[in-house]
């Protein structure tokens, strides 16, 4: 079977939508972080696929992906650090527990 661009773009789109859905519905901060990772990774897949299929002559999309992975790692590290801080102060990582400031 010949592999077209859609074989890769549709899973990536599903990943992105799952990420958005998870970001909105999850209550656990770690789960929210995982959803965010899903979104960022689907962006990476998009870039690689577009580069590979549409513009095989250059490597711009690949390089963007490399940098995006590094950025995602930095974001996760910082988020985990802050979640640990939150856990220390409320003994929980549930988002319902960190909603003191509203409206």
């Amino acid at each position: 079977m010949e592999k077209t661009m859609l074989c890769y773009l549709i899973p990536s789109l599903i990943m992105f939508c799952c990420g958005v859905y998870g970001f909105i519905t999850r209550k656990n901060m770690i789960a929210i972080l995982i959803s965010l990772e899903l979104m960022l990774n689907s962006v990476d897949i998009n870039f690689v696929v577009f580069n590979r299929f549409l513009f095989p002559g250059s490597m711009e999309g690949m390089f963007f992906t490399l940098f995006a992975i590094a950025i995602a790692a930095a974001e996760t590290a910082l988020a985990i650090a802050i979640i640990i801080n939150v856990f220390r102060s409320v003994k929980n990582v549930d988002v319902e527990e960190v909603s003191k400031m509203k409206f």
Partner: protein
């Protein structure tokens, strides 16, 4: 490799040197000298700002790294505006950074602040989306750490996690849009994108631009994406809040202007004019309506800054040299007015921990100077004639009207009506300070710290001078007309 091309990045390199000096001072100086970290940082940064004013305005166009990075006197002026704001924030932060709670991590605070400023520089100068994304992230990630800086206060953590999660979400959405742009144009250089999408815009381009605008909307707290703003502003340390509301927002606005004009300028009327149009109306109106019911001063200023972001967007939708000059002038005035307001709030909070509007009742009786500074800031934010805020609003409306279509006239009319609404809530603060005295004076007379007073004097001088002396706007306009919209 030709190393002389680094010379075009004078301002970035200068900032890097300031950063390294502060880092070395903080790491290697003996314990006794560490008390001078704040003064050292302020002095070094002030020298750097002054040097930037002298050297960088005389250059011409320059691009380096095969067009990834560009600078011109107009861009240098934008960076100088940000520098002035950051300098005032640094001066105002001295008292807070030297409090017993923060003193152990004082050095980190300054380093993080300078690192975010560096990221914002890259955002403004980037002419390639990879550099832009790196700048965006290196501006917003250290900011999340700065928001969490009050380690012993719960609100700080809550604000920080809210800020970080929404920031990452928005940059994921933004990068999704970028991947579509990449698929359309085959390159991430602004100029290549500009050439590639000049044909009839496709549905994919509309989707891509919607994603890109949504991502930037989070950074600028435009209305459907503003929900993090009030919580983060309230929970963050007041110094960080003022930095977030002025410098972070200003740099994102400039970067958005550059990106929209340079990469998507040709599809202005087909695609993004209407998106921006809707965003502006929503932002100004909703920001104003929510600001009315806030009692906490920091939340109040958060919603006020949401509606100010709407006015800032008017400078982008104008798409001409006047619009750009008025955008720069607006940000400059906004820097001084908002920092004056936050300076007063932070002085009062540092002294007695009060941040509610009701606590400000009768402030004029006890602390007349602070209340006059606050009054000037509020008048300037609302746009009352003799002060700078009036002229900045006037110019930004003029710039938008020059664009010429009927729809823009309607937009400016809506913005004008909203200015009057905003006058109501800005005057509520003035009323509380000068007229309300029924439950006595809550805040006892106090003498604010020397650094706070210096910061306030600079801000108030800015509010008064920028309104009266016309050469600021004229020189900005001249820059923008000479060098085009970048």
């Amino acid at each position: 490799m030709d190393y002389s091309q680094f010379l075009a990045m004078k301002q970035e390199i200068g900032l890097l040197i300031v950063f390294l000096l502060v880092f070395l001072y903080d790491t290697f100086m003996p314990k006794k000298a560490l008390n001078g970290t704040s003064v050292f940082t302020c002095v070094v940064f002030a020298i750097y700002t002054a040097l930037c004013f002298c050297c960088c305005m005389t250059d011409t166009w320059a691009t380096t790294f095969s067009g990834m990075y560009a600078t011109s006197p107009a861009i240098a002026a934008i960076k100088n505006i940000l520098n002035v704001g950051a300098l005032i924030v640094l001066i105002q932060s001295c008292k807070w950074a030297n409090s017993d709670e923060q003193v152990v991590r004082r050095g980190e605070f300054y380093e993080l602040l300078l690192a975010t400023l560096f990221g914002m520089y890259l955002m403004i100068s980037a002419r390639h989306f990879l550099l832009f994304v790196i700048g965006l992230e290196s501006a917003s990630l250290p900011l999340a750490a700065m928001v969490a800086f009050n380690k012993n206060r719960y609100e700080s953590h809550e604000a920080s996690i809210k800020y970080l999660l929404t920031a990452v979400f928005s940059s994921a959405v933004f990068m999704m849009g970028l991947s579509f742009v990449y698929a359309l144009a085959g390159s991430l250089y602004y100029t290549d994108i500009y050439c590639a999408i000049s044909t009839q815009p496709s549905a994919m381009l509309v989707l891509a631009l919607a994603f890109v605008l949504a991502g930037m909307g989070f950074k600028l707290s435009l209305v459907p994406f503003h929900l993090w703003t009030a919580d983060v502003y309230q929970g963050a340390p007041t110094v960080v809040t003022s930095y977030l509301s002025v410098i972070s927002k200003g740099s994102a606005a400039f970067a958005l202007l550059v990106m929209m004009v340079q990469a998507f300028g040709l599809v202005y009327s087909q695609v993004w004019e209407w998106m921006l149009y809707a965003l502006i109306i929503l932002t100004i109106t909703v920001g104003n309506l929510f600001a009315m019911r806030q009692r906490n001063m920091k939340r109040f200023l958060a919603f006020s800054s949401v509606s100010q972001a709407g006015y800032i967007m008017l400078g982008i939708i104008a798409m001409n040299a006047t619009g750009m000059a008025s955008l720069m002038y607006y940000i400059l005035v906004y820097v001084f007015s908002n920092l004056a307001a936050f300076g007063v709030i932070s002085a009062i909070e540092n002294n007695c921990g009060k941040v509610d509007m009701d606590d400000y009742n009768g402030l004029y009786r006890t602390n007349p100077r602070l209340s006059v500074a606050m009054m000037l800031a509020m008048f300037s934010l609302a746009g009352i004639p003799p002060f700078a805020g009036f002229f900045s609003k006037f110019f930004i409306f003029t710039g938008a009207i020059q664009q010429g279509s009927t729809a823009i006239y309607v937009l400016v009319l809506i913005a004008l009506i909203n200015t009057i609404i905003s006058l109501y809530y800005y005057l509520l603060v003035v009323k509380a300070m000068f007229i309300n005295t029924e439950n006595g004076c809550v805040i006892a007379p106090f003498k604010s710290a020397c650094s706070e007073r210096l910061g306030l004097w600079i801000s108030v001088a800015g509010i008064l001078l920028l309104g009266i002396v016309s050469c600021f706007y004229n020189s900005l306009l001249e820059l923008c007309q000479t060098y085009g919209i970048f």
